[in-house]
Assembly symmetry: C2
Homo-oligomer: 317 residues x 2
């Protein structure tokens, strides 16, 4: 981040017509955003939401309440504007792009071997990397992939340790027997692949194409100085692989929403991110982060639009 811009934003914040600190986290967000954009009085006019879709070999183990063909059906729904994320992106004034990654070629079942080859991982990272609009000034990445809370749980368990049960939740809604089966699958995957190398190797062995694409997009955004709002459990697992590979890799990111998926809170705590919202969503698609675009836009609207005490002729206490 640009120290001069951060300092300029902090000075401006102290002159605005409000008691010191009275806008709470909006003030911190504005100063943080100003630093990353290199502009002490920035605007947000071009947010981008990208939804990546992938299919997972591990669905053969019966880990999801929905059939795998729903991934492709939902991609069509995204393209036709019918999904929740379409409404949320439009409502937030964001451009939305959809990238389906080889849906007819699911990843390998990670209980049998690595989910992806090195070539497959690189191709997925590259898709994510190149999907970021360099002109965007805020980025949300979301995902669709039936079964993908299972790889996300496996990634979290491999990165952060503990038991498979600590990281495995109900996803879109498996029952108790389904949860037990899913926990077994996560445990088997971590037993087979855990402790193998750094974050990107864990991503390759336990992740999925849409998860890797999210990581690629988040990394590209950092290079482009585009701040990122992290979405839920799966997005955070993707992001955690980057942070494991390069400490500080997520300094340009805030957590948008704490998912109702039980282990998300723990992942955010490990990443030292306090979510902006907690409204019980557990949908993925980038939905929670898209909601949080409004919070960031509002923070910047206040920061860059308010009058100073001097401008308004208000006594500053």
């Amino acid at each position: 981040p640009d120290t001069a811009a951060s300092q300029g934003a902090e000075e401006r914040n102290g002159q605005l017509t409000k008691p010191p600190g009275a806008l709470g986290r909006l003030e911190d967000l504005a100063i943080w955003y100003a630093g990353w954009r290199g502009d002490a009085r920035p605007q947000i006019s071009a947010p981008q939401v990208i939804v990546f879709a992938g299919n997972h070999g591990v669905t053969a183990q019966g880990v999801s309440a929905f059939p795998a063909e729903v991934t492709e059906q939902m991609v069509l729904n995204f393209q036709h504007g019918g999904a929740a994320i379409n409404q949320l992106a439009r409502s937030a004034g964001a451009r939305m792009d959809v990238h389906a990654l080889d849906l007819d070629r699911p990843t390998a079942d990670f209980t049998q071997g690595p989910a992806m080859s090195e070539e497959e991982l690189l191709a997925a990272l590259q898709t994510g990397w190149s999907s970021v609009d360099p002109e965007a000034d805020l980025l949300v990445v979301g995902e669709m992939g039936i079964g993908n809370t299972t790889p996300a749980a496996a990634i979290a368990c491999a990165l952060f340790g503990g038991e498979a049960a600590d990281w495995t939740g109900r996803g879109t809604g498996v029952d108790d027997a389904g949860l037990a089966n899913k926990t077994r699958v996560v445990a088997e995957g971590v037993a087979l692949h855990g402790g193998n190398g750094d974050g990107l190797e864990i991503l390759r062995r336990l992740g999925g194409r849409e998860i890797a694409a999210m990581a690629g997009a988040i990394a590209a955004a950092r290079l482009l100085r585009i701040p990122v709002i992290l979405d839920g459990f799966i997005c955070s697992a993707a992001a955690a692989c980057l942070e494991r590979s390069v400490a500080g890799a997520l300094d340009h990111a805030v957590a948008g929403h704490q998912s109702a998926e039980a282990a998300h809170r723990a992942v955010l705590e490990r990443l030292n991110k306090e979510p902006l919202l907690s409204l019980g969503l557990r949908l993925g698609e980038g939905s929670g982060a898209a909601l949080a675009i409004h919070i960031l836009k509002s923070a910047i609207a206040c920061h860059s639009g308010m009058a100073t005490f001097a401008e308004a002729g208000v006594s500053d206490g």
Copy 2:
């Protein structure tokens, strides 16, 4: 609320292309809003933000970090578009109105006698009542009034019991000595007026004109079936007077934001309202509720804009 519209909205919610419950509180909000609007597939296109301003005789007791003339200075700032609430209202697509209530005639110091006469209370309630646009489809009421966390704390203490210290906070930022003084003032006011009649009589004796105007507007909105988003500590104290007078008087209202003012959480708990946001704001002006307009608009955008499983050709698990 309209039971047929609520039921229609609940049915529609169950058919939308998402796992059941995956939009969390957005789903409950949409169904609740549909009921109050009498429309199973509603839109939000005309939110209204109204800021009421008043001055308080109790500032003679030195309860605020800011001088009383700041109330009027901030009214000018609202009118010129320079305050936080101007940016937040614009960002949320809301119309904003400002009503200054007899700023040159502060209420009486409630440690000496009732803050308002019956005529003054009625006039303030009436200003609030008549300021609501009957064509609005969502209402936020905010306030500006140097010193007004003191009457709000006194109202909360009179309504809910406990000690003055339980309800008295730092407002815009008094120091420890200021907080002790403010607590004494609240205790004196409650000792003089507490236990006097119902919510409206407590509002008259311990409140202020802008607080009464907020109550009047919230009551009018209910008659007009306009859902309300409650703001912070002062707005919630105003609303609590209505609830004390008529149980259920706030069924058309949700809590927008939990203020950093310490006692706000306790007031919301007594009102049985779970705040939508908690971002550390403690500004008043309607700022927290204005932020939450985005959440409600997003909930309705999803509810009314998403495709159903049948429309999108998606398998529903």
